[in-house]
Amino acid sequence: MDFFDRFAIPHASPAIYASMVAIGLTVIAIIAGLTYFKKWGYLWREWLTTVDHKRIGIMYLISALLMLFRGGVDAIMMRAQLAVPDNKLLDAQHYNEIFTTHGIVMIIFMAMPFIMALMNFVVPLQIGARDVAFPRLNALSFWLFFMGAMLFNISFVIGGSPDAGWTSYFPLAGTEFSESVGSNYYMIAIQIAGLGTLMTGINFITTILKMRAPGMKLMKMPMFTWASLVTNAIIVFAFPVLTVLLAMGTMDRLFGTHFFTTTNGGMDMLWANFFWVWGHPEVYILILPAFGIYSEVISTFARRNLYGYKSMVGSMVIISLLSFLVWTHHFFTMGQGALTNSIFSITTMAIAVPTGVKLFNWLFTLWKGKIEITTPMLYSLLFIPTFTIGGVTGVMLGMSAADYQYHNTMFLVAHFHMVIIPGVVFAMLAGLTFYWPKMFGYMLNEKIGKLSAWIIATSTLLAFVPMFFSGLDGQARRMYTYSESTGFGPWNMVSFIGAAGLAVGFALIVYNIYYSTRYASRDIASDPWDARSLEWATHTPVPEYNFAILPQVKSSEAFWDAKKHGHELFQGEYEKIHMPNNSGVPFILSCIFFVWGFSFVFSLWIPLILTTIGIFVCMAYRSFEKDHGHYITVAEIEETENNLRGA
């Protein structure tokens, strides 16, 4: 039975056994449900093999919401553990695993797919294209991300979760101090998901550069498309660093190399440096698309053109460049000397300038606008002040001399949550509400939506502002408990109440989805928000080919100007449309990748070799395959268009 011992959980607890049972039952329920309702064929034809950017976007969205739940449960458990001094709810090991997985799940498996969801769904529509440049690669990106996420998530029931923090610093993450397979999961699951992300980057840059509607010059692109272009450029240049880093980490853990060990010349700080060379641009990969969403939402509901279009674009480009020049600020206290620290302090504080430009541009867009407060707009308006708190404390942390006081305290934790939650999460919720009618053909309930926005915003402040104070008082991050005499108790109790409030807010969003699915009117126009860019110019639901005739664009607010000045976006006759074929290869290849990753984690060399061969066989198959896509005939287009117009 020695062989099976490796799959056991090193620190099992009733909660983990309960999750095992829950996971098992869910899987059985899904399989039984699909079989009972005879949906296997439907699932395969319409979803698993799809190359349609809209469906891939929706699959990203579902994954992101699932992972939000997983990461949220982690967060609640942490805050519950810290709510009172000397709490015994979780032991130290369990707490380590939870803060590690919370970080990775929220950043890589929740925020990233949420952004990918909106990018996939919106960008091709916004530029008036019929799909992305490489539709099949897009499907492969999604499935690789998905399998990476699944591999990471089974870690807590098979073999044990990573426990060295989401940054996974060596030597702590080395085999000497982290014996369980947890950190192997970290290295390999993120590697698989990261490959998918890199492919998305290449795909979307090509799409945006080459497939814009006639007349849409670069400086006439909607702001979300601009944000996506800059973001994907950062992805292409940052993710290979992560690829190399994780490969080196894997080799240290599994092949006994000495990259990051403390013997035979290894250098543990190399990990920290490379990690943040990827990690800091990653922060902007998350925030720039969010800024894009805010730009869309704010100009739509202020009923004004976005103020300072050129400076918006310029500031994003500057942010993307600076994002590669600040990584050392994550470890000012680790002794690189005053000169290095000063240089990185200056570059760090410099980022506040273009970010400030963007904030003022939004404020000037609101100025004299006819502001209509809808749910997406409410999120955007709540974002501006709360994000500013996070941003300003970031500048405080960026001053290297002062950072010695804040480093690795709850002050830091408060800072980055106050940046990421208002910055990214509010934007994603705004984007979700904004694009929901385009995705699913009905609106989410505004009353429940606004209530949840208020609950989430106040709970965010309640949960994280106390950490600024307890952090300045000296509460270290990642400590699983503290004594009563420290006086941290009341602050942490308030934080816990805030965390519970966030849970209520998110539950309300789920309820809203349920409620609106049941009761909302399906009789909505294709442009329910009276919006500005091309994604609203096509029908709802969006036909497979997006646009029957490619739009002629004259300005950065193409659809708005067409509505106001009455010029026709769609000129010409229907022509047959070339569309890509569905393919099962991305899904099958990613499944093989999953088994490959699992074998790698547990050092099962024979399955590893077999799956490696399987991966190359899939690629060879793709090389020899003849696939020229298919055409949608004019008759079919006419029929679809007439049906949609009638509806």
Partner: protein, 198 residues
């Protein structure tokens, strides 16, 4: 599929030109990948622990042979693409085959070199220096190996299907990849071997 006859075959459809741009962006990512490996190499090059230094293990002869083989293969694939533009399928296939044979020769010498390093006590686990040396070389070598299979598949396809916009596009992209590996090798040759032997 609209074919624009004013452009070379490999660029002649929209899909083709998208693929070429996409591949250039991919090469951008590859540059970052190798740049990361190189910076790790420069950081770890003197951290030899109890293992040997570069000067102690590098030998110029096999490295020079590898360099000549790979540089020549970059030239022959250029000739292959030139033949493709002239529509000379037979010459193109010949040059592609020569390219792959040269690539195979390069790989043979590199494997020999690796065996030699391990034999004289400079294995993957010896020190930080040997680990990053073998990883950097190995990453390049793995790319060449991948390229050999890829190139072979393309030769088979051109042979069977002739020069179509699709096969021409694949061949052209493969040539970009092959030239890129050559560029990386020039950096390895200069900054790993020559600098290491100085």
């Amino acid at each position: 599929m609209k074919i624009d006859n004013s452009l070379p075959l490999e660029y002649s459809t929209e899909e083709n030109s998208n693929k070429i741009l996409g591949f250039w962006i991919f090469l951008g990512a590859e540059i970052m990948l190798f740049a990361t490996l190189f910076s790790a190499y420069f950081i770890l090059v003197d951290r030899t622990g109890s293992g040997p230094t570069g000067a102690e293990i590098f030998e110029i002869t096999p490295v020079l042979i590898e360099t000549i083989l790979l540089l020549t293969s970059s030239f022959t694939i250029g000739l292959g693409i030139h033949a493709m533009r002239l529509g000379n399928k037979k010459a193109m296939l010949t040059f592609f085959t020569i390219t792959l044979i040269l690539g195979l020769g390069f790989l043979g010498f590199e494997i020999f070199e690796f065996v030699h390093y391990v034999h004289i006590g400079a294995g993957l686990q010896t020190s930080a220096f040997t680990a990053i040396l073998l990883t950097t070389l190995g990453t390049h070598g793995a790319h060449v190996t991948f390229g050999l299979f890829w190139g072979l598949f393309i030769i088979l396809q051109v042979k069977k299907r002739g020069l179509t916009p699709e096969t021409a596009n694949k061949s052209f992209i493969f040539s970009l990849y092959w030239h890129f590996l050559d560029v990386v090798w020039i950096f390895i040759f200069s900054f790993v071997y020559l600098k290491g032997m100085m």
